[in-house]
């Protein structure tokens, strides 16, 4: 145990995800030895991020104003809506530079074993967005794991009566992987989604 504020810092750092007691101690002593200007800049950013950043009123993505950058952009296609689990998935899709539509962040995936049902996600907000008929295609880009697939199945069934085009991101073999290591489910999906090669 250290005295006073040093121990308080270690305790606070230790509450961060992925930081254990040893890691917290190492970061605390790094901060103690660091230049005061650097530490103050870090502290200012931490305070600022809590004060300024909120969730977009439309899509649920992180934003510094009422609406996020993507929702404010008039060049984005309002007829295509991509549903993702977390704001970090928006960043991953934006990195592809392939998608020009808008997003809807659910805030997680349906996981009954963890007590998370559809009412705990931003499903109601999604239905409100779809109600005006402006969206023609809904892309379900939840994670390709059990919870993500089940969430996509649930949403597809929910929006079916609206007559939208509902699509799911393709699953299959990862680029750079070896076929012999592919598991049966992934390889099966790759076969299901095989495409014609126009050579």
């Amino acid at each position: 145990m250290y005295e006073g504020v040093v121990q308080d810092l270690i305790d606070e750092l230790g509450r961060l995800p992925g930081v254990g007691p040893k890691g917290a101690q190492r970061i605390a002593f790094y901060l103690l030895a660091a230049d005061p200007t650097d530490v103050r800049r870090l502290a200012d950013v931490l305070v600022l991020v809590k004060d300024k950043v909120r969730f977009c009123a439309t899509c649920g993505n992180v934003a510094e104003e009422e609406h996020c950058r993507i929702c404010r952009d008039p060049r984005r296609d309002p007829a295509v809506l991509c549903v993702v689990e977390e704001p970090k998935d928006v960043v991953a899709i934006e990195r592809t530079r392939e998608y020009r539509g808008r997003y809807h962040v659910l805030g997680g995936a349906i996981s009954p074993i963890d007590g998370i049902g559809p009412d705990d996600l931003r499903v109601r907000e999604l239905m409100t967005r779809l109600a005006d008929g402006a969206v023609r295609e809904l892309i379900l880009a939840t994670d390709p794991n059990l919870e993500g697939e089940a969430t996509a199945t649930y949403l597809a069934r929910l929006v079916k009566p609206m007559g939208l085009r509902v699509t799911r991101l393709a699953s299959g073999l990862p680029v750079g992987g070896d076929l012999e290591y592919a598991d049966e489910v992934t390889l099966g999906r790759a076969f299901e989604g095989r495409r014609l090669l126009d050579a």
């Binding site: 992925g18 074993i113 069934r157």
Partner: protein, 243 residues
């Protein structure tokens, strides 16, 4: 590094660090085991979808101090595939996994009957021959029976006198005669009691022919019975999609 091999059902996964997961398995010979699957969240992981909940896998594990480490995994039955594509079956299946986890308190304590029951339940659920809620309720009742809490739907749970009886008491352990009836007992319909008995014994012709009303009542009684013996309800049960 001490290695061992077993077959098991993946009950639950939890994220760990950057790309790892903690996998909880109910294995045939080693009971409930928790192990780290390294790099499993990367798209190039060699485990891929094999270590998702509902998957029946043949695994090789390295013995660890608190958590074992998954070294290899091969699919024996990919139950996750059919379940993730049907929301009612998915929610019923998660309640089955949570029950199996809760009823196997001790890690590494062999629970062969519970394991076989879970595999059979998942096979029935994935096969889609019966209504998912019937499969779930049959699994819950039989799991309780395996754990030593078998409910009585014929003889009185208090004094053992032959039935049929009219009243149901969760604390007493099933149907009770007028003499043993504690305050607060319910009086389910005879059709619901017949359905509960059929689910416990595996009389699927009776269960499949049952009407919606008795199914709902039987599900409610099963959930109450389970909550009593587990001391707190299942988190997943309230999300189960019922007819």
């Amino acid at each position: 590094m001490s290695l061992y091999r077993d077959e098991g059902v993946v009950l639950r996964t939890q994220k760990l660090g950057e790309a790892d997961r903690i996998i909880t398995l109910l294995t045939r010979r080693h009971g409930r085991v928790r192990a780290v699957a390294k790099g499993v969240r990367r798209t190039t992981s060699r485990f891929g979808a094999r270590l998702e909940p509902f998957m029946l896998v043949d695994v090789q594990l390295a013995l660890g101090r608190s958590l074992d480490v998954v070294v290899q995994a091969e699919t024996l039955a990919p139950y996750a595939g059919p379940l993730m594509g049907d929301y009612a079956r998915y929610t019923a299946g998660t309640a089955m996994l949570e029950t199996a986890e809760r009823l196997t308190d001790e890690e590494r304590e062999p629970a062969v009957q519970q394991y076989l029951l879970l595999v059979g339940g998942l096979r029935a659920l994935a096969g889609g021959e019966h209504d998912p809620t019937l499969v779930l309720d049959a699994f819950l009742l039989r799991s309780l029976a395996v754990a030593g809490f078998a409910p009585s739907f014929a003889a009185c749970a208090g004094c053992g006198v032959g039935g049929p009886h009219r009243f149901f008491s969760v604390p007493t352990g099933g149907m009770v005669c007028p003499g043993c009836r504690p305050p607060g007992s319910s009086a389910p319909s005879p059709e619901s009691v017949r359905l509960l008995g059929a689910l416990l014994t595996g009389a699927w012709d009776v269960a499949d022919a049952s009407a919606v009303g008795p199914r709902r009542e039987a599900s409610g009684l099963t959930a109450a019975f389970l909550a009593w013996h587990l001391e707190r309800g299942l988190r997943s049960l309230r999300h189960v999609e019922r007819v």
